[in-house]
Every structure is written in C-alpha cells, then in structure tokens.
Point group: C3
Chain length 341, copies 3
Amino acid sequence: MSRTIAELAELVGGTVRGDGSLCIDSVATLAGAGEGQISFLANPRYRKQLDSSRASAVIIAPAEARNWDGNAIIVADPYLAYAKIATILSERTRHPSGIHPHASVNSAAEIHSSAYIGSHVVVEEGAVIGADACIGPGCVIGRHVEIGADSTLVANVTINEGCQLGERALIHPGVVIGSDGFGLANDEGRWVKVPQLGRVILGKDVEVGANTTIDRGAIEDTIIEDGVKLDNLIQVAHNVHIGENTAIAACTGIAGSTRIGKNCAIAGGVGILGHLEIVDGVTVTAMSLVTRSIKRPGVYSSGTPLEENRHWHRNYARFKQLDDMARRIKELEKIVAAKGS
Amino acid sequence: MSRTIAELAELVGGTVRGDGSLCIDSVATLAGAGEGQISFLANPRYRKQLDSSRASAVIIAPAEARNWDGNAIIVADPYLAYAKIATILSERTRHPSGIHPHASVNSAAEIHSSAYIGSHVVVEEGAVIGADACIGPGCVIGRHVEIGADSTLVANVTINEGCQLGERALIHPGVVIGSDGFGLANDEGRWVKVPQLGRVILGKDVEVGANTTIDRGAIEDTIIEDGVKLDNLIQVAHNVHIGENTAIAACTGIAGSTRIGKNCAIAGGVGILGHLEIVDGVTVTAMSLVTRSIKRPGVYSSGTPLEENRHWHRNYARFKQLDDMARRIKELEKIVAAKGS
Amino acid sequence: MSRTIAELAELVGGTVRGDGSLCIDSVATLAGAGEGQISFLANPRYRKQLDSSRASAVIIAPAEARNWDGNAIIVADPYLAYAKIATILSERTRHPSGIHPHASVNSAAEIHSSAYIGSHVVVEEGAVIGADACIGPGCVIGRHVEIGADSTLVANVTINEGCQLGERALIHPGVVIGSDGFGLANDEGRWVKVPQLGRVILGKDVEVGANTTIDRGAIEDTIIEDGVKLDNLIQVAHNVHIGENTAIAACTGIAGSTRIGKNCAIAGGVGILGHLEIVDGVTVTAMSLVTRSIKRPGVYSSGTPLEENRHWHRNYARFKQLDDMARRIKELEKIVAAKGS
C-alpha cells in the first residue's frame, strides 16, 4: 500500500519538506531504513542515527528538523504520526469471510455473513459474532457470548458463557475471558465454591495481550471500558472495573472489586489489592504494590533499589531494625537537646 | 431451580424470619436485587445498602439482623450460606454425555460412558476419563492421564502424559498441568536438559485458575493435595507439594521442591523460593518474597509502602545508606554515652 | 533403554567403582531407588540419604565417594552426569511422522516428510516445518513461520506470522510467540495502535516454558539467541534481545528493547525495565526490579526481608521516614561534633 510523502503528511496533519511526490512503501528504523522507506525520530536518544540514516523520508518534530537534511514530514508528535503512517503502509487484505469446514458452530449461533470463523473454532449455542469479525484458529466462544463487529480473536482464545466484547476488540492468543473468579467461603477449613454468576463486558476498541486472564463477576459484571489496553499475562479478578483508555503493562495483577479510573497508566508487575478505588489519571510505576485507594491523580511507587548483592544484603538486613533505628534517633535527639539546654 | 426461603434456610442451617413460603429464583447484590431474589450481608461496608435494598430476602448474621426489616435467613456465616444457596439456585442441567464427532480419541483410551468429550479435544493412548467428567473444547489429554469422576476441564486445557486429577477437579481454560520442570545442568556454559520424569498428582476437589501452570516432578511427583484452590496465572514448579485446603491467589510463583502445609493462605503476586518448608496455617500477604522456611503458623509479609513518586524516590535512594545509617546511630550513641559519663 | 554401569560411566567420562557390568534401567532419588536404578548425590543436604539408599549405583563426586559403599560412577559434576544418564535411560520411541487427519494444513505450507503434525493443528500458508519436527495437538502455526528440524511444540502453542524457531526448539503448552508488542501512541487521551511489524527469531536449542509469551518486534525483530532457556509464565516484550545460554526463571517480565547478555541467570519474578543493557554473566535474584543498565558481571538484588506481619508493619511504616531519619542523623552528628570541639 505505497503512498507519496505528501499523502502521508496530509494523513497526519504534517508539513512536507523536500520531495513530496516520492513514493514510500514501508516503515523502518533510522538505522535500518533504505530506499522507499520512511523512519521517525521520537526518542532523542536515537538523534545521532539521523547522520547515517538512508531513509527516503523521516517523520520529525519541528525542533529536531534542523538535524536532518533529507525529505521530511514535520509534525508535532512524530510517534503518533508514525503509528498512523505505519498502519496505512502495513494494511493487508482481510481474511475472507465464511466458516472453516473444521470449525464446530452450533446451529443456534448467529454468525454475520461477513465474519470469518477459523479452523477448529468452537462457537456454542446462542453466541453472536458481528460483522467482519475474525475468529482465529482454536478459539472457543461459549454460549451466548457476543463478539462486536470488526473484532479479531487471533488464535486459541477462550471466551466463556455470556461475556460481551465491543466493536474492534483485538484479543491476542491464549487470552481467557470469563473464567470463574476466585470466590471461596470457608466451611471449617474446607473451601466451598462461591458460584461466579456475573459476566465480563468489554467496551469498544479494547486490546487484550497474550495469555491475559479476565475473570467473570461474582454476581454483577467485570467491566473493561472503551479504549482500555491490556498487555500480556495480566490478571483481572472478578468485579474489577477499568475506566476508559487506561493502559496496563504486562504481569500486573488486580484483585477483586477494585475500580481503576480513566486514563491511568499502570506499569508492569504491579499488584493492586481488592476493593480499592483509583481515580482517573493515576500512574503506578513498575512492580509497585497498591495497598490503599488512590484519591488524587499523580505518580505512585513502592519498592527498593537494585544493588550489587553484597551491598544490598547489608541494607536488607537492616530493614528489620528500621523501627528500632527511628526510636534510637528520637532518643538521641532528646539526650542531645537536654544537654544543650 | 427456585426454592422457598424455608427450604434455603434448612439447607444452610439458618433461621427464617418473615415469610418462609416465599419463592426465591436467584441471587443478587443488595443494591441490585429485586422481586424473587435473595441477597446477603457479609462485609459490614455494605450495611448501608440494606436501607434501600429491594431483595425479597437477605442472608444475615444475628448481630446485623436488626438492621433489616424484611424476610431474612439468619445464620452465623452469611457468606458461607450465600455460597451454598447460590450453588443451588444457579444449578444447571449437565452437559450431555458422549464424544463430540470432532474430538480425536485414541482407541486405547477409556472414556466412561457418562463422560462428555467436547469438540476438538484430543485424548491420547491409555488415558482414563471418569464418570460424569466433562472435557471441554480444545483440551489435550496426554497418554495415560487419569481424570477423576465429576471433573470439569473448561476449555483449551493441556494435561501432559501420566498426570492424575482426582474427583471433582475444576480446571479453567488455558491451564497446563505436567509441563516439564525447569531442570538444567550446566556443561561449560551450555545448558543440558535434565529429563523431567515425575508426574503431577492432584487430589480431590482441586480447582485451578485460568492459565496457571503446574510442572511435573523431576524424578518424583509434584503433589497438590485435596481441596487446594489455585487462582489464575500461578506457577507451581517441579516437586512442589501443596497441603490440603491451601488457597493461593493469582500471579504467585512457587519454586522447585518447596513444601507448603495445609490450610495456608498465600496472597497474590507472592514469590516462594525453592527447597523451603512452610508449616500448616501460614498466611503470606501480597507480593511478599519468602526466602526461608516458615516454621510457625502466622502472618508473614515483606515489601515497602506505596508513596507519591517524589516522596518515595527520596526514601528509596536512602535505602542504599541503611547499613551506614545504622552504624552512625551506634557511633552517636557511643559518643553521647561517653560524654554523659 | 537399559545400560550397564560401565557404559553409563563412559558416556559421562566417569570412573566405575564396583560392578560395572550391572544393568541399570532407570533413575530414581536416593530415597526412592531400588534394584536396577541409579541415583545421584549433587546437593550435600541429601548426603544422609546415602546411608539407607537401595540404589544399584550412585553418581557421586570424588570428595563424597567415601560416604557410599556401593556401586558408583565417580565424576566431577554428578548433576550434569545425572542429566546425561537420565536422558539416555528415559529415551522413548519418537512420534511417527505424518499429518493427523484432523489437522488443517494449508496446501502452500512445506511439511518435511519426517515431521509429525498432530490433531487439530493449523499450519497456515507458507509455513515451513523442518525434519523430525513434532507439532503437538492444538498448535497454530501462522503464515510463513519456520520451525527448525528436531523441534517439538508440545500442545496448544501459537506461533504467529513470520516467526522463526531454530533447530531443536522445545516449546511447552500454551506458549505464544509473535503476539503484538504493547505499542501505543497517545492521541489526546485515546490510544492509537502502533503496528507491530517485526518478528520473533529463536536460535537453536531454545526451550520455552508453559504459557510464556514472546512479543514480535515493533519494526525490527525480537531475538532469542542459541541455548536460551525460559521457564513458565515469562513475558518477553517487543525488541528484547536475550544472549546465548541465558536462563530465566518463571514469572519474570522483560520490558521492550532491553538487551540481556550471554550466560546470565535471571531468577523468578524479576522485573526488568525497557531500553536497558545487561552485560554477559549477570545474575539477578528473585523478585528484584532492574531499573538501570548493568555494566559489570555480578549478582544483583533488590527487595526487603520477610518478617512476621506485626514486626514487618512497624518497619514498613518507618520506610516513609527514611529520608527524614537520614537528615536527622546528619544533624545529630553536627551537633555532637560541635559540642565535642
């Protein structure tokens, strides 16, 4: 899907510098680009690669434009412009519509005529698959599941009974949506299962990374709002509510009934306890543990620094004395103050 | 499966207050309940919802009963009673028995006539599937695997060769049981694989959450005892032994040959090193790292508090000086004591 | 595949003590071994089990040989020797070659005549499956994927378009290779997907544990070099580069574009931020967070010790005062020094 530099610039609201009529076929890194390829400079650490880049054009911010002599699309946010341009240039022909002969589709499921159902897919009774949806090989779509139009389930995805995915969902391999929440009541030492009767509801434009799990609600539903982006290997427990456009990085776990606001950015490996509320616009840094509700937007962190093991070990051992140290400082202050008087 | 309030009260050993003959169809939250629905009050934070609840009945503890005027089942442990009542009210007709025509079942596997084998399931040579077991779509059952009666494998579960699941196992999608343990011997920098020859043995009434992995033993077996409940995305390494009725929350990892006792509660995101022993009745809080054996029941924790990033960063940086600070406090104490004399 | 003690000793370059003509059928632990079984002593904590072991032979280091009277293979590294011997003794007949009738293989895929394609496998257009490769049930092999000779994909593995696996790859169930990296550009609060156009390239002799995910590169490729061993539930983000023979334990997450050197050992539950460089020969201990590049080989750690909850809580609370404590110590030192003068 090649385009001229001028066409691409128009697409992203940028200004052309140089030869706008030149044809661009694909994207590349500054270091790797050649004839017919466009690259971008977003992170200043790559600025020095401009000198030797053989890209046919570069997407660049006004403030950096003097560092590059060649053809350019000058635009305020080069990374965003790159995302849009790369999307256009890498567009592929869609999967054909239809049902693969090795799929098992229940006769009481509704499959839109423009949807594609891949090999070894199972679609159970009452499921509804929307227009232009693509259900890749090995996926299991439970009873009464609804998959919105233009959604893609890449492969080996499991969606359990009654869950709903909005339009343009992109679900990567191995994802499980609608597994039972971890609800247990204790009966004199033995665990009694609490039936998990809610659903998972995904809004529009939600992306879910490989092998991430989203549990169904215990009574009411687990809710993932429009535009939420989840990375790989994330755990979302029952009755969690994640607000619009929040993005969460890999290996994070969110315990039951916690409510995360809109436009939050949760880094990787974070743990968030249950029954908390996190307001809109909160950032949590990697591997932090959130043990209380967060009531003000901002950046939050926990944890200790990486050190060479032998240095770390000394400090680590002292952690157990921290309260004692605080008391002794206070005591010293008293003594010193008394003597000073 | 509707029941009268009186029938439900009898089921849970509770006392009826109000109209015991009223018919209940389903469960709901206090806030969401309406005609024909029963709710419960277990967590006092929801007490204020009693005022406006339109539930036809509420399961409630004696001490809270005065806060609700309507029909009630009064019982010591409302959450446990709710679990039992919700189970009865949500019971569904079972899957039919039989083998789906799109399953691949080896002729030398034994499938009980009452079991169900779903679409695209593979059952290999010598596997034994017990009475009333339900093997959902896309599951792979390896050679000589045994699946106990009344077990359910929801979908896309993999059970590798020789592993055994006791009665009433409930295995959620994407679970892998019997993958190779991470056994490696170093041969001048290159890794030589140590064959993983043991099995995984699950007792009765074990539940395993979505995408959790349980590795087979290196020589002897990995053992999960009766009544153990594992949440999603947990890693259980080779030769781990988990005692009866222990419950482990999501994203926890347990390294090889560690032995966890009975009735333990391990929170989410915990790491437990290998070759440790943890006695019965231990609780470990979220994201703690267990680096040594735990010899006494109790609650154990590690980690540091969540703070606003700029405050956290100051304290974080000081962690590297902790040993130095301890020494300087000691030195100050000596000087002050010497001057005092 | 039974062998004599002498044959096994020759295989591992060890010395026989006792009856070299005795036949060994299988391996066992010291405690569990009986007639016809060989065991080993590698970890001194098991030394006391030598006294009561009924193994027909033991693999043992010279320094320990006097603690065992029976038949022995004496060798410098008993664990490595055990690995090799166990491999020989547990060798099984290979899967037959051929394509299972329930597989879906695109006519434009190249399957080597000696390869095996299991039930419900999907192999898409242009994929190439090498000699003696074994693609287990439920695997999905995307367009133009290449699987090297002698590789095994156990079951339910997904390899997305264009990824390449070198010879002798061993990929455990539920693994996802080539899922999209988590690339997002922000457009006034909404996320725009950055197309993920690179591939994942695995070298030779790579092992990947159950449910681990390896994302494709954004523009260039994610690279896993020869001999890398990954445990279960690991996240490898886009454009990560992992050097030869590095081993990484379960539940670790590596963020985008980070480069890890050769012969590193990364323990379980570790987090490694993006765009870092870690040199060859680095060890990182469990649940550490790597926030900066590591430029010297060595052992690195972060984190705080496990304590009984009530003790921990006191120290935990003081962490927020750490910077304040450091300032107060400095102040005390000034006062004391001033008085001393």
